[in-house]
């Protein structure tokens, strides 16, 4: 664990500091100026055709009202105005906020003390533990959704446990409940992200020099003060990365909603990604779908920039 994470830090740093290197120094035989472009062209062609161009087309489509079949009409920014005024769409972004709480805030709040504890404990079996808690990240979301649908089922394991401890009144079909379906889906997100966040924070904490802890202890700091005075400030960067990753994951939630609730019951778990799909391919509101997709993309860009800007500033 310790060795691999220091290696990680080392390569990351090296990547940043090595100056633009040798192969282009002038004294050697001159390379044709077209060589770099020859290496770039195949990748760029595929990338431009299947990612950049569709992105631009999305922005263009978002200015039209189009059912996908007949001729579209130009409506300017009306689809964007609708994102703000349509209660369904506004609701879907509101649901994302709740999901961010479960995907990002909760895992970081739980992961910080967990990682602190585990780094401090130097317990045996940490490597195995890391493998286990990271597992939810590599399992296909559809599989995760199938598993949790079962757990939340009226006859599923969660209700079995509740009935076994005498809490029969709490047992219910969790995903069919108007108020509880969204938190229930959110909790799946917590389950998926908690391992990633903890492992990320542990890697950061294992890089903190032990002298800092010794100094804190000489000042008479207990484990709690030590955590707030030494550990927490040292892993700001990791917290920023964890927040960026998990917030983006919350914004991109699609497979999970599609398989567990399909946005229901009612619209209580509809999220923007699901609205993009539903509007474009079920309701024939392609322009509106494109507008939601563009708003989603802009949000992802903005959050990545803001979180990293804050982390950069605080590190200085």
């Amino acid at each position: 664990m310790a060795s691999s994470s220091t290696a990680t830090a080392d390569t990351a740093r090296r990547g940043g500091t090595v100056p633009v290197s040798g192969p282009s120094r002038p004294r050697r035989r001159q390379r044709s100026p077209w060589v770099p472009w020859a290496y770039l062209l195949p990748a760029f062609a595929v990338y431009a055709a299947f990612l950049l161009y569709p992105l631009v087309r999305s922005a263009q489509l978002s200015l039209y009202e189009w059912d996908g079949l007949t001729l579209g009409t130009f409506v300017g920014f009306q689809n964007y105005a609708e994102v703000l005024t349509n209660p369904d769409l506004r609701g879907s972004f509101g649901h994302t906020l709740v999901l961010i709480g479960f995907y990002a805030v909760l895992p970081v709040l739980l992961g910080l003390p967990l990682a602190g504890l585990l780094t401090r404990a130097k317990a045996r079996g940490l490597a195995f533990f890391r493998t286990v808690v990271f597992l939810p990240q590599v399992v296909a979301m559809v599989v995760v959704a199938v598993a949790w649908r079962r757990i939340y089922d009226p006859d599923g394991p969660l209700n079995d446990v509740l009935r076994a401890v005498g809490l029969d009144s709490l047992a219910r079909g969790w995903l069919g409940d108007y108020t509880l379906a969204l938190p229930a889906v959110g909790l799946i997100g917590t389950w998926v992200q908690l391992g990633l966040v903890t492992v990320l924070l542990m890697a950061g904490m294992s890089r903190i020099p032990t002298e800092r802890y010794e100094a804190a202890r000489l000042d008479g700091a207990g484990p709690v003060r030590e955590f707030f005075a030494v550990t927490l400030p040292a892993v700001r960067g990791e917290v920023a990365v964890a927040l960026t990753l998990t917030i983006i994951a919350a914004l991109k939630t699609f497979d999970l909603i599609y398989v567990t609730t399909a946005g229901g019951p009612g619209n209580s778990t509809a999220v923007p990604s699901y609205e993009v799909y539903r509007r474009a391919f079920k309701l024939g509101e392609v322009g509106s779908a494109a507008a939601v997709a563009i708003v989603l993309t802009v949000l992802i860009f903005a959050i990545s920039l803001v979180v990293n800007r804050i982390a950069d500033r605080e590190e200085k």
Binding site: P23, S58, G125, F134, V138, V142
Partner: protein, 276 residues
């Protein structure tokens, strides 16, 4: 330094956390290996093997038509991984070791692609490819994913090439090796760990991708494994056993790879994220 009581508490928390992480996985595994609970099978329960029922996997494979969808997934993943890796190695090489006009602007353009969600490209892709008569083809599923993977791959390989040994490449150049030979005979073989990580991550993302195949594949023959599982869930409602077995089948390739190469997975996902 750490008291016995604290140590015990630490192990308890460690255990509780690991249980939380593994419980849903075990739920699925246990259901997949348990006796078939569907109405048809419950009438005539089989004996099982030591109380386990591995025959559920065969039944799920047949009923969920996973033979077809797993084959599609293998083909799509192989194509995306092969193309994206070769193209990313080449573009990463150009960005990492050569100077040319517009290098930074172009690199930022590639970086952009790491953040663009599939939702933002899938709508116009569907309608434009439909105009060309290309929806519901292998290419409609694979090529957008190649493009997505190239964005990350270029960024990943550029970092490797920038950190790679300049002196070795220089020595080879003095021996008369061209840039093509230096790339494939020296830098790529030395950089096998970086390339392996890229391959493993690309494979995982492609295998698990859901939205793009969902939109592009309308015919059953082109459904990828996760899509096949989602449809199986819709049709198969008489029990949970075979659905669980199907879920295990779909998750297995990536999970098995993860068991063997977990360091590559974890390092790649953390380091890739840090550099974003």
């Amino acid at each position: 330094m750490i008291s016995r009581g604290e140590r015990a508490a630490n192990y308890l928390i460690l255990f509780a956390f690991a249980t939380f992480a593994i419980w849903p996985v075990l739920t699925i595994l246990a259901a997949a290996l348990g006796p078939d609970d569907s109405a048809a099978a419950a009438a005539a329960p089989g004996a099982g093997l030591l109380g386990l029922h591995p025959e559920n996997f065969a039944a799920a494979w047949r009923q969920g038509r996973f033979g077809q969808s797993m084959l599609t997934s293998v083909a799509v993943s192989a194509f995306v991984v092969a193309c994206a890796t070769v193209l990313s190695v080449m573009s990463g090489y150009a960005f990492g070791t050569m100077t040319f006009r517009g290098r930074n602007v172009l690199f930022y353009l590639f970086l952009l692609g790491i953040m663009v969600p599939a939702e933002a490209i899938v709508v116009p892709l569907y309608f434009d490819l439909r105009t060309l008569g290309l929806t519901d083809t292998f290419w409609a599923i694979a090529l957008p994913q190649v493009a997505q993977s190239i964005a990350f791959g270029t960024f990943w390989m550029r970092a490797y090439f920038r950190a790679s040994s300049v002196s070795l490449a220089e020595a080879a150049r003095l021996d008369g090796a061209g840039s093509w030979a230096i790339l494939w005979r020296i830098l790529v073989p030395i950089g096998r760990p970086a390339v392996t990580t890229l391959v493993v991550l690309t494979f995982m993302w492609t295998w698990n991708e859901f939205l793009i195949p969902l939109v592009m594949a309308t015919s059953e023959e082109l459904r990828t494994a996760p899509l096949g599982l989602a449809f199986f869930q819709g049709q198969y409602t008489s029990g949970f056993t075979l659905l669980a077995a199907g879920a295990v089948i779909v998750a297995a390739p990536v999970v098995i790879l993860y068991v063997f190469l977990q360091r590559r997975f974890i390092q790649g996902m953390l380091e890739g994220a840090v550099r974003e």
